[in-house]
Amino acid sequence: MYAQMVKSEASKDDPDKLAAFQARIDAGDKIEPKDWMPAGYRKTLIRQIGQHAHSEIVGQLPEGNWITRAPTLERKAILLAKVQDEAGHGLYLYCAAETLGVSRDELTEMLLDGRMKYSSIFNYPTLTWADMGAVGWLVDGAAIMNQVPLQRTSFGPYSRAMIRICKEESFHQRQGYDIMMKMCQGTDAQKRMAQDAMNRFWYPALMMFGPSDKDSVHSAQSMTWKIKMNTNDELRQKFVDQTVPQAEYLGLTIPDPDLVWNDDKGGYDFSEPDWSEFFDVIQGNGPCNTERLAARNKAWDDGAWVRDGLMAHAEKRAARKVAAE
């Protein structure tokens, strides 16, 4: 989940308009960019979609870290295609955010100077090839868990972006699982890599759904607006229930001694992640926060002359065209 820490806004809008707006949402209408919407709805969506877009962009880095070391030509091609998809997702999402009146450049600036966040998961390092499996399987898996319901979100452009994105994400998850499968059927060293990846990514993957509902005071408004479709804990439970049998099939041990099937609730009981670690990561103290933001800042700064150059050329060409007419 990419919109981990989005807070929704209390409203100062006209109560009649608000009621009419809520009635549309309750009726399952899609809200389109030109429609009236509460300021808080707009603001919350900009933050949520922007945060999601930034996550796709920063998310290129931990996987890009292994493209040049992929073990076979086929794996290299698959990983390249995946990272290309993620950049494409970023593009769709920035476009969706732009319909709300914020430009991609503005959002980018806010990412680069730390005013906006991206998913905590991308602040963890990718240390072995098995991490490419774990990221696809667990991280894309958790993302799908969050994004599938968001296909029904009330804001039209966001919903449509989610529909496109979900198609590709399920492919990513299958590829990740396939990497894990190969590792788990492989040599002792490969099995060790796979288990190590599992150990390091399990709790960070659980954190992707955001803090526990009891600590997440702002989700109610977002759920009424259908910007958020399920609570954090619901999605986390679903993810655990889906993932445990997959891990068992791989022969991997989930690093949670208290994980146990609970017949009464029809799901697993499991340990909460260490939320103090989560808040540390969100506040910039994850293992890779500094590198990730530095890499994005460097790309942006180093690219300034390119963006300026291409812009200047486009202007010259337009001027020449006018002169010729």
Binding site: L73, V83, Q84, R104, H313, K316
Partner: protein
Amino acid sequence: MRDALFEFLCRMGDNTLVLGHRVSEWCGHAPVLEEDIALANTALDLIGQTQMWLGLAAEVEGADRSADDLAMLRDVWDFRNLLLVEQPNGDFGQTMMRQFLFDAWHLLMLQALTDSTDTRIAAIAAKAVKEAQYHLERSADTVIGLGDGTAESHRRMQAALDLLWPYVGEMFVADAVDDSLCAAGIAPDPATLRAAYEARIQTVMAEATLTLPDTGFAHQGGRTGRQHSEHLGHLLTQMQWLQRAYPGATW
């Protein structure tokens, strides 16, 4: 003939492998999102072409090696790529200049190979030629845009051209491998591509307001494997690491 054919296929496949690797180094670090996507796409095409060329090379060799074995388990002296493609990325302008200088040759080469008497080669070329056409359109547009952009972008593109131009000549120098393939109608004489190449380069450089260096000097040794640059070894160190560190594993 089998040796010459194997050598030629390695030249084609190593070019796309090494350049694909270089381009993929950009992943997540490009100047704008659209370029991240385009560079990944180019790298992906090149790696796909590598699978075809080295796959055929392995088949022709008949020594029970796969395309992956050729990519991951040969050392520097067995690589047959042009020196141009192993040169480091430098800034984005240098990367795109390298891409353009390669694409302009690559397209001509692939077009010629679609008429190869070896139907396997003609089939690969026919697939790759569409991708190469697209790569060339993009890289030419970027060279023009940045050459004829700001003073700074112009200066950087001229520096990139000055740096990389001496690596172009190698594309057109024939050796015994080329002679025998040319005689069999399998591949063109590389020298015959030169006129069309230079015409294309001149058109684009004129639009880009860039000046071709006044030198006919050509670094050589890549496509024959006689003497690569120091850069290739470092590239292979990274690319081949997993296969070397964990021999025999399946990924």
